[in-house]
Symmetry: C2
Subunit: 205 residues, 2 copies
Amino acid sequence: MTRTPRQDDRRDRLIEAAARLFRKQGYERTSVRQLAEAVGILSGSVFHHFDSKEDILLAVMSTTITTMIERLREAAGSASTTRGRLLALIQTELDLLHGNTRDGVSIIFFQWNSLSNANQKELLAMREEYERIWLDALQAARDGGALNAEPFIARRLLTGANGWTIYWYHRDGALSLDELAGTILGMLTGSLSRGQAEVIRGSEV
Amino acid sequence: MTRTPRQDDRRDRLIEAAARLFRKQGYERTSVRQLAEAVGILSGSVFHHFDSKEDILLAVMSTTITTMIERLREAAGSASTTRGRLLALIQTELDLLHGNTRDGVSIIFFQWNSLSNANQKELLAMREEYERIWLDALQAARDGGALNAEPFIARRLLTGANGWTIYWYHRDGALSLDELAGTILGMLTGSLSRGQAEVIRGSEV
DNA sequence: CAGTCTACCAAGCGCTTGCTTGGTAAGCAA
DNA sequence: TTGCTTACCAAGCAAGCGCTTGGTAGACTG
């Protein structure tokens, strides 16, 4: 039997497997035994790496939010115009939801209530950091006249619209993520039709 | 001990309690014992009214969808213009989500995956009936030039945006449901600002 | 007023759950 | 070589789960 101490790869693999299974089956319907089996250990051994099952969910969410903030901050910085920044944020959130971070990100969106209140509080500051980036961009868009609605309302509608895509959007379909992002931006700002995404990103307002 | 035979009120009360508890706690985290306690019977007695726990969820969803279809059909028929009809549908869906049907409707939106595949199939025809009303209205809006996006994409974005309101919208806040509906219609059709809802409903396109 | 049906209780069964315990082989440091 | 640490296994515990069983009081039916 191979032992690989001084190397937390089992822990990381557990987080990965948990993200995958939690997304597919939900947190409650995923047992610790399933998690253990997914990485090739017995159920009791899971508790060598984590104090509780919920701690695994917390770890999944925590590492995911960190990535989300990082990616969104990058996107916000990459665009030079108000509208271009908004598009970049939408594209990024969609990519977070459908790229290789999708397991964790879906869990952030739709398994939030499986976390105890105490642990929700623990992550709230990070979530707010993520939302702050959005609200700043939306406020700028509003100041510039590109957005009609109040930023925080627009963001919440957007959160739902984007998050819900995990239930119907498939990357291998006819609709590309950038096209979808363009459609969403068009709705938000009320003028853009699909397929113009590339034109706008980086150009003037 | 009061017995009231020939009267299915316990069954109805169970469905009601289930809707409430499933929404608040989730289906998996709600036990049959809790459901029983909510209506004042013992856990075993629940299975006099339902074959299984999942059957209760099915009953909640089934009765809810029936109401949803009914209400949405009414709304679609009440408006004389394309845009007015769209607004009526949005208002109705928001009211379904936040009025006295909100428990069941929230469950339709967010506990769908707790149903077994077999039971999902059972309800699919009803869901499609509901969506058909939406798609017809959106298609008409598109034909009339009021909507830029493809109807089925618009609807899915809308589904997410509307459904997500259960996580942040509160009736007793400053924002009224009709104002919110106006904002959403404005985004969909790309021209309306908030507060104009009443003006548009029933007027010409 | 006997027979049937409805709506429940009391008890508990079989199973799964998250988690604990005690032990051990392998790796590392001195 | 000794001693400590890491990463696991083997076994199982207590609690809770959905659900079943056998029985009974009251209401309804002929």
